[in-house]
Symmetry: C2
Subunit: 277 residues, 2 copies
């Protein structure tokens, strides 16, 4: 793909500009010529699902993914059932917004039992597959950085996420590759190449060394230590040809005007991800 | 091993009680009936190497490991040579203190080049092997939690550390397993079982979820989400029969009187690691 084609596939994950509503994010993308947006459920709820859909139709901005489903492990059967039910709502919302991808943050460990918690994740996703298939929505397992294994995702390694997706053996289930979570893995390139049709999404940002805060201290592309150009090249060589979301949780960036962040994001994406300097 | 034998193999890594000097730590171990201590080079330097050795001889407390060598990656050849030279001093100090183990924190990424930085680590350790062998000292590669991959260790996965040790193919090189760094890995038990003679050390503490601070927010055993009893059992089943260090970097614990921390550590070790409640 050439640079123009690549820039057409850029997506703003709205978590990058936390001060923007869903409406602001969609209009901001349209204003800056960004073709895709990654939306968050809470923001969509605030803006209204139907109103958001109308704005998408008016602007032509497309939704690359809806964040987020998951959080399957819970101590009781009824809590686990509630969470699966909530994931069904996420699938409905994704379909309504015209995206075929729900990003799954699988959930943390229950009762110090990693194998048991992982089984709850596998069972939860399996329970969703028929519902997702009927609506044409795919479930993207996002391996989270191991720093979140306690409270956010027991699926903490890229290899583990890939193996889980393979085991679930459904076209509805694949992997969301976010460089922040997997950049450090000695096998990251070969794991990307091995995903095949299960390579559902690719997210970029940067790893500050050391991170000022692991949750809200992600870096803008170019400010950290990740070989973004190399990982992006491998993503494309692996056959992933979809949108690339920029997803940066960073308090400093959130304190800046959204339009300035958009301009910086475009510049940094071109320079550090596409290598056009 | 029974509980008495296990308690004899408990070691205080002095990082757990940061306010104690090397002398305080050795005397504290003697006072509390703890047979082993893990020492830090800066603390030993402050106390004096010969004086520390004398105190060890007087008290009968043994050194389970010396922290730390490593930090091999650097931008220039001369800097890398300096770091290898510093590791030689660590080996000398370990020999003088009567421990056969230097713990390696391998060092962070240079110039966004993970493969290159990893090669610098492998080359650095390889360069030390003859020197270590002459002095009867072993080099323990500690896979660090991936949250430290940017600034402290590009050897961020247990599997990677095990593979590196195997590749270096020397009785001088093995792996230091600290639960804080590897607990989240889906393969942690099988990786422990696969180490064989390369299982050089085992460290315990706990993972708070979420951690209040990734560097200085480790938990006391029992305060977090790690299945310590299960991991310890696997360490012993894997054939590792050496000392077990308690290593906790935690500002709250550092603010408590050392003798209280020792008492708590003994109680929690017995309950949560050995499962004696």
């Amino acid at each position: 793909m050439n640079v123009v084609e690549e820039m057409r596939l850029l997506s703003l994950n709205q978590a990058t500009i936390q001060t923007w509503s869903a409406r602001d994010a969609i209009e901001g993308c349209a204003r800056h010529g960004v073709g895709y947006v990654g939306l968050w459920r809470d923001k969509v709820q605030e803006a209204g699902l139907a109103a958001t859909r109308r704005l998408l139709d008016e602007t032509g901005v497309r939704v690359s993914s809806l964040c987020r489903g998951g959080f399957f492990p819970a101590p009781t059967i009824s809590e686990r059932a509630e969470r699966i039910e909530d994931n069904r709502r996420a699938i409905d919302e994704a379909a309504e917004l015209g995206t075929d991808l729900v990003v799954l943050v699988c959930g943390g460990v229950v009762d110090r039992d990693m194998p048991g918690s992982r089984q709850m994740v596998a069972d939860g996703i399996a329970a969703l597959i028929p519902y997702a298939a009927e609506r044409g929505v795919r479930l993207g397992i996002e391996p989270l950085h191991p720093v979140f294994a306690g409270d956010r995702s027991v699926i903490a390694g890229f290899g583990e996420a890939a193996a889980l997706a393979e085991r679930l053996a459904s076209p509805q289930v694949g992997v969301v590759v976010d460089v922040y979570h997997v950049w450090w893995d000695v096998h990251v390139h070969e794991l990307m190449r091995g995903l095949g049709e299960r390579f559902f999404a690719f997210h970029v940002n940067d790893w500050l060394a050391p991170p000022p805060d692991v949750l809200l201290g992600r870096g803008m592309m170019g400010d950290g230590v990740i070989d973004l150009h190399g990982l992006h090249a491998t993503a494309r060589a692996s056959g992933y040809m979809g949108p690339v979301e920029v997803e940066i949780f960073n308090r400093d960036i959130w304190s800046q005007p959204g339009d300035e962040v958009m301009a910086l994001m475009l510049e940094r994406y071109r320079a550090h991800v596409l290598g056009e300097r």
